[in-house]
């Protein structure tokens, strides 16, 4: 699986030659949750969180009316839950690389699908040099986009983790999330002939 991610990543990066650069920035917010978790033999209840993601994306290349983009974003998660009746909450910051393919449905509607590659490394950990095996998390993402104007659009996404990791990695950043947001696109200015 790891090799497939790497190949996909390299494929899209090397395809940059054909790219028609178009940038965008986006802001998403939403709700995240876990279905059932068990930590050290203790059941975790009400494991959920609020997510805010802010970042930018670059169109790598397009074919017909579809295009592939790679982004970079900062993700903040405010999660909470309780284990054996003891409540806890956590604030988490991570960086995310969203890799998306966007397809037009109509003039104003777009659908997108892809993966979020996200770091799992905690720099507050004094021993972060040794890390854990799961330095990366991968979420599958599917979404819709409604174009308000040529520059602005509304977005909605559903993401869920697809890596097989132990529950301990999801307490601070739940497996599933539903996000809505806004996106601003920057088109390449074309020089007009005099």
């Amino acid at each position: 699986m790891k090799k497939i991610y790497l190949l996909l990543f390299l494929f899209f990066i090397t395809s940059d030659v054909e790219a028609q650069p178009r940038r965008s920035i986006f802001l998403n917010t939403g709700y995240s949750f876990n279905n059932s978790l068990q930590i050290n033999n203790g059941k975790v209840k009400n494991s959920r969180g609020y997510v805010i993601t802010f970042g930018g994306a670059l169109r790598l290349f397009s074919f017909k009316k579809n295009y592939v983009s790679l982004g970079i974003a900062g993700k903040t998660i405010f999660s909470s839950g309780s284990r054996n009746g003891e409540k806890f909450n956590a604030s988490t910051v991570r960086f995310v690389f969203p890799l998306r393919i966007t397809l037009p449905l109509t003039e104003q509607w777009r659908v997108s699908t892809g993966f979020n590659f996200q770091n799992n490394l905690d720099f507050l950990d004094p021993d972060f040099r040794l890390g854990y095996r799961y330095l990366w998390r991968v979420d599958y993402s599917a979404g819709m986009k409604y174009l308000l104007t040529n520059q602005w659009s509304l977005t909605a996404n559903a993401d869920f983790n697809i890596r097989n990791m132990s529950d301990a990695f999801f307490l601070n950043d739940p497996k599933f999330s539903v996000l809505i947001g806004i996106e601003k696109r920057f088109h390449k200015r074309r020089k007009t002939k005099k």
């Binding site: 003891e86 956590a90 770091n119 854990y132 095996r133 132990s166």
Partner: protein, 396 residues
């Protein structure tokens, strides 16, 4: 592009998690501990200076007292204290080396009382111990090194290792922290395990940056290292305890220790006996490389080191390969090294310090919260289970 890189760096730097919880942590006055309690009397100024200037290797004098089940079992033993450790010396609760003026008579098990001792070991006389902060595991479980070492002891492996247990440590009657009291892995420790004088021990330590000749016959160490560099198999066969070497390499590669083999390795010999390797400081195990095959762990391409070289000199021989893999299979197939044997050890250690870790969190925020402690124990167990699966599949 520059902006993107800047943003990436910024997000990487701030990539972190902070937990808070409602858990009401116990205070030291509320804990009725069943752990052994150590109280060391020292000059407080000297102790503080030793802790602050830990890189200067300052030694101070003190008096060592120990209670078991509320009964004073060791009284006013004269000791020398020194801060020990590598990276983990940066933690607020540091590892302390404790050296007794005379060898301590532990035949009544008052100082160290392990549940099991390997048949070729003796812990009746102890010159030095270590009050260890669990190394890099200090902010995590506080029990990884102890638990993995206990698994090796229970497995009856042909190893030399340390024996230990968690204790509450006081300095001048003030609570200092929860530390793991264990025997030494150095020349004092090996001399003690074999009931010989330290002068009989030749010992060298492999660290990330250098090979340190610690004690004994340095010419013999030089000759051994030279034989490794030259790939002189016949000489090495005469000098190395092969059965110990196989068990040592199997265990370290099984637990996927990332702070090894370029570091935390040492070999020793008693008099003219063969060189054996010592198992110690296992806090780097079960982390980044649990999905790697054993040979990949041993190969360690990051840091060239003589232990890797030594192994692959032997591994060229088919008879060694067979012996290595047969032993690996037998240990796994018989369930000697297994999750089923590891989990009870972790559970027992967890129960032992369940109250005391709360005092540690109260004082040092290490680990940060009880939920983080539970998360780290959960990761330890899950990664062991995963490792068991990976290695079992490969070895079969």
């Amino acid at each position: 592009m520059k902006n993107l890189l800047f943003f990436l760096m910024l997000t990487l730097i701030f990539s972190c998690t902070k937990f808070n919880e409602d858990f009401e942590l116990l205070d030291i006055s509320e804990v009725d501990t069943e752990l052994p309690v150590v109280n060391i009397e020292v000059d407080r100024d000297e102790f503080n200076k030793m802790n602050e200037a830990y890189e200067e290797e300052i030694e101070i004098e003190g008096r060592f007292n120990m209670f078991r089940n509320g009964v004073l079992v060791i009284e006013n033993e004269e000791v020398e204290l020194e801060v020990k450790g590598g990276f983990s010396t940066r933690f607020p609760l540091k590892t302390l080396g404790v050296k007794f003026e005379d060898k301590y008579d532990n035949s009544d098990r008052s100082l160290i009382n392990p549940s099991k001792i390997l048949p070729h070991h003796n812990i009746d006389k102890i010159k030095a111990i270590r009050l260890r902060n669990s190394g890099n595991d200090f902010v995590k479980t506080m029990m990884k090194d102890l638990s993995l070492t206990q698994l090796a002891i229970n497995a009856d492996l042909n190893l030399d290792l340390t024996y230990g247990e968690p204790v509450l440590v006081y300095i001048n009657n003030d609570f200092h922290g929860v530390l793991n009291l264990r025997t030494e892995a150095n020349s004092h420790g090996m001399a003690g395990l074999h009931g010989v004088k330290k002068s009989a021990v030749t010992l060298a330590k492999i660290t990330t940056h250098e090979l340190i000749k610690k004690d004994g016959d340095f010419d013999r160490i030089d000759a051994f290292v030279q034989a490794i560099e030259e790939g002189n198999l016949n000489y090495l066969k005469d000098e190395l305890d092969i059965e110990n070497f196989i068990d040592y390499m199997i265990y370290q590669s099984y637990i996927a220790n990332v702070d090894w083999p370029h570091n935390n390795a040492q070999f020793y010999a008693i008099d003219q006996g063969k060189f054996r390797f010592v198992l110690f400081d296992l806090d780097g195990a079960l982390r980044l490389r649990v999905n790697k095959e054993p040979l990949n762990i041993i190969e360690d391409k990051r840091f060239p080191n003589i232990l890797t070289d030594l192994f692959f000199i032997f591994y060229k021989e088919e008879s060694f390969q067979q012996a290595f893999w047969n032993r690996y299979r037998s240990l796994l197939n018989n369930g000697i090294i297994s999750y089923d044997n590891f989990k009870p050890i972790v559970d027992e250690n967890m129960n032992k310090i369940y109250s005391e870790i709360q005092i540690q969190i109260n004082k040092y925020q290490a680990p940060g919260t009880m939920i983080e402690w539970n998360i780290e124990i959960d990761k330890l167990l899950n990664l062991f289970q995963e490792r068991e699966q990976v290695v079992s599949d490969l070895v079969k």
